[in-house]
Symmetry: C2
Subunit: 216 residues, 2 copies
Amino acid sequence: MASRQAHHRRQPKLGRPPRHENQRERVISCASELFARHGYENVGLSQLADAVGISKAGLYHYFTTKQEILDEIVLTTLDGLLAHVDAKIGRAATPRERLVAFMTAHAEYFEANYWAFTTMLVGFSGIARPSARTHAVDRRDRYEGVLRTILAEGMERGDFRKVDLATASRGTLSMLNWMARWYKPDGPTRASEVAAAYADLLLNGIGPSDGDAALV
Amino acid sequence: MASRQAHHRRQPKLGRPPRHENQRERVISCASELFARHGYENVGLSQLADAVGISKAGLYHYFTTKQEILDEIVLTTLDGLLAHVDAKIGRAATPRERLVAFMTAHAEYFEANYWAFTTMLVGFSGIARPSARTHAVDRRDRYEGVLRTILAEGMERGDFRKVDLATASRGTLSMLNWMARWYKPDGPTRASEVAAAYADLLLNGIGPSDGDAALV
């Protein structure tokens, strides 16, 4: 685990990364990695306390249940994602630029908060406290709303052709979210470069372009 | 569970669907649904025996471990997916038609084998027996190879513009695979229609088309 944390220290810090400034944040950070690696159901509170380097009683000082920890990871990650993406698209001038900014910002945040993001994607449906659930659904809907607004504005202005908004939005998020299944945080590929290539596929399609078609 | 099975009986049968012709296939079918709904780790053999309606001793007649059952679900589903997609793309004349056929056939198979497919996607990385693991990786690589061949042929012929093969292939499979996260088998949307709309996005992009651009 030490090497992964070292890796994360080299990453740019975006949104609300775990900074280990206090024990509580360290619990969240260790739990994120353990949940992502082994699955929420398979991690016990004793194992988490060991990873943090505190006693189980010490852990109870911050959280009484594992569920509370999962809820906090999901909510904090969604909040941070929304803030980071909002900031990035705010600097883009056209719907086309905003779509690229949305997709690369999503990937940047995913890369910088790899374990928490992966836990969030898996844990979203398992969130338990009614208030946390409402908050999480609200954040997710706002996040999807940001993307739909970009797509709808682009269609209205004529920057994009008219396609089904739900399908285009879902297809975009599917490509981004599935990264959690194959992306290696220590590998050579940058998630944001993959996202930029996906944006090119979505914007321009694979063919035929007019130039290529003329050659046939 | 009865209503889900009734639903599945209404679906067209593709590839190698569970047909309940014998007890062994019934074990696989019940396990697929239980694993997909509750997570592999959270399902016990007693619970599975209850769902099938046999004793735990009866279950041991077919499988000695839960892992064996997971391995079989993963392998059978990958085999069936490959066979179904191969048959469908064999009837398509151009790379463009083959890409649409690949994507819709994937979605058809997913829809008709919803529980096993979902368990396969989650369980792929958890497959344990070395022989089963080799078989699963081989099948997955062959499956991705089918898609890459379609894309590569299209680029060579000039039907598609030249894009990075790995990115295009990964983006395509990401959209298809993420369906397991949101698709409701009893809902009004057909997975194959969503896949056809995704194929349109990938082939034609969202913009600007020449027609729309001329209006700006």
